[in-house]
């Protein structure tokens, strides 16, 4: 009896510990750093050293300096474009996956997700060599007679960033769309057929609306990952491909202005949080679904 009681209380302590950790870890590793950033964004810098006196100068600079807002806006447009491209490419792929049977479906899904296991930097290098002036894409386009000579359209500029980010992030779009498509009960599709709908009508009126939550999650995933990325623009963006992530990076690196970097981070974080909230709002299947 007493032994049983002691194991019981040991188990109880363990579960208490797990509960505490479950709350403490996100607080320590996510919320506290965010709070520190927020606090730093109100400090200033004087000749490379941080001045611990509250000021709004960082935010004033962000909104008044003609450099930052346009880059900020362009970056948002870029990342929305990446999200749109990823969705357009991922949806057919995910849809195709759900039409496969049993083993094939998951085997192919795994293949599509394999790139996630590879190093990010290596993937960027690989894509960079494809996109270069003498890269595979240009050579292929010339060989096919589509171009007379190699194009600079996608060499070290915004377009290169767009293509690279899209390629890198497609797996993150396929997965949520696939999951939401797979969750649609087959009997709903059969019921639609049974009521006289053509395959196209069934797709447009049943499958597509019921998979929109997955599309919303996918879009917010891709957007958030794209907007936080500074490595890809750094490596394939050249001089013209200047994104907000790169500015941010430079504030912590070369400029050594942590408080201003923190203020820019806060601006970015607000956009990211909005994107996540929007994704969450539409990503939830309607409260009315069964």
């Amino acid at each position: 009896m007493s032994r049983a009681g002691s194991t019981h209380s040991a188990e109880g302590r363990l579960s208490q510990l797990v509960t505490v950790l479950a709350f403490a870890l996100p607080v320590i590793f996510v919320l506290v750093p965010l709070a520190i950033f927020l606090v730093y964004s109100f400090f200033g810098v004087d000749q490379g050293t941080i001045v611990y006196a509250p000021t709004l100068s960082n935010y004033v600079r962000f909104f008044t300096d003609p450099i930052f807002l346009p880059v900020f806006w362009n970056t948002i447009v870029l990342c929305v474009s990446v999200a749109v491209i990823c969705i357009l490419l991922a949806y057919p792929a995910a849809y195709f996956l759900t039409t496969l049977k049993g083993r094939w479906r998951y085997a192919l899904l795994m293949l599509l997700l394999v790139p996630l296991l590879m190093s990010y930097v290596i993937k960027i290098y690989a894509i960079r060599s494809i996109l270069g002036l003498n890269g595979f894409l240009n050579k292929a386009l010339v060989a096919l007679g589509i171009l007379d000579q190699p194009s600079t359209l996608f060499v070290f500029n915004m377009n290169a960033i767009l293509l690279t980010l899209s390629l890198l992030l497609i797996p993150f779009a396929i997965l949520p769309i696939f999951l939401s498509l797979e969750r649609i009960p087959q009997t709903l599709l059969r019921a639609s057929d049974d009521l006289g709908a053509s395959s196209l009508q069934t797709f447009l009126r049943i499958t597509l609306p019921l998979s929109l939550p997955g599309v919303a999650s996918a879009a917010s995933f891709v957007f958030v990952l794209a907007i936080g990325d500074f490595l890809t623009p750094q490596m394939v963006g050249g001089i013209s491909g200047f994104t907000f992530g790169r500015i941010l990076y430079s504030q912590f690196g070369t400029a050594y202005n942590w408080p201003f970097g923190a203020a820019l981070s806060v601006a970015l974080a607000i956009v990211v949080i909005c994107a996540i909230l929007v994704g969450e709002r539409f990503g939830r299947s309607r409260g009315t679904s069964v």
Binding site: P185, T187, L188, R190, A191, S192, D193, D194, L195, G196, A197, S198, Q201, R205, I206, P209, L210, S285, R286, G287, T288, S289, V290
Partner: protein, 367 residues
Amino acid sequence: MNQNIDLLTLRSVSKSYGTVPVLHDIDLSIRDGEFLTVLGPSGSGKTTVLRLIGGLEPLTAGEIRLDGQDISRMPINKRPFNTVFQDYALFPHMTVSGNVGYGLSVRHIKRKEIASRVSQALELVQLGRFAERFPAQLSGGQRQRVALARALICQPRLILLDEPLAALDLELRRQMQEFLKSIQREIKTTFLFVTHDQEEAIGMADRICVMQAGHIRQLGTPHELYYKPNCEFVARFFGENNLVAGKLGPVQGEQRPIETALGRLVCSICDQPHLKTAPDGVSAFAAFRPEALHLADAKDGANRFSGTITDLAFAGSSTVATIMAGANDAAQRLRLRMPSRIDGSALKSGEMVSLCFAPHEGHLVLA
């Protein structure tokens, strides 16, 4: 609408999944305007019959004819049938009226007409007030009625119902049975209703098709199935029954004796030619319903035997006695059902009683 005209005919229909056969050579005619119930235990192939007719699955062999035309290869969305699915399969992102009007809107019917037909259909199933609700905001019985309205709005030739009441509780199920039956009478559409619940089948069907192991065992009115089962399976499956094995004796007019462990039992073979022509000495069962069995009194001559009451169960309006009858080494467990009495049963557990049933209330089934 003529109940004597065949609407739909299945001819030697077979279905296999891979190498596993689920339907063997089924022949079935559905009459125009009838309420036909396909009844069978799970795994009997009853749902498969419905899915083949609805076009949800292709036939392996045979053909399905609608008004004499072969529709075996007709795609599901072209068949003039609609299905009420077991889990209702309502579209969660559409309101009740969106669901009900779906079959019309995919046919590009004008909005105005859709709206008026939807409200008519919703009136019919008494859901007028719920038009703008979503399926998740409805109870099981209401969803059921939405599914029904959605199926009948396209005025199909045949409505297929796949155990639609299985998920409802008993009281609601009773209500829905009556409701379905009354709607069927009102719109005069042919209903094909699949169920494993024989009480449900008796209560609603004009005719019942009993299936087992991929075969149709018997097709007939509930009355025919109850009183003239043509095989041991139907006799046992359909309602409570007492079956006593034995060997057939020589035909005596409209009756035939069978030699059993309880002695010679005489049963009716009225209108069952196969029982008349069966040779003497063939194995068969004497079958008699619990309510046909009663305590023998002095004037009862035929089908008389004795037994010991082992259990008495009060079931409200009736009381059921379990009886061990016959010699110890070949004792038969029988059931006797009689009206309950306010002053308690006339029977006592452990009592030895003399029992009998009238020859015209007994029937024979070949083993």
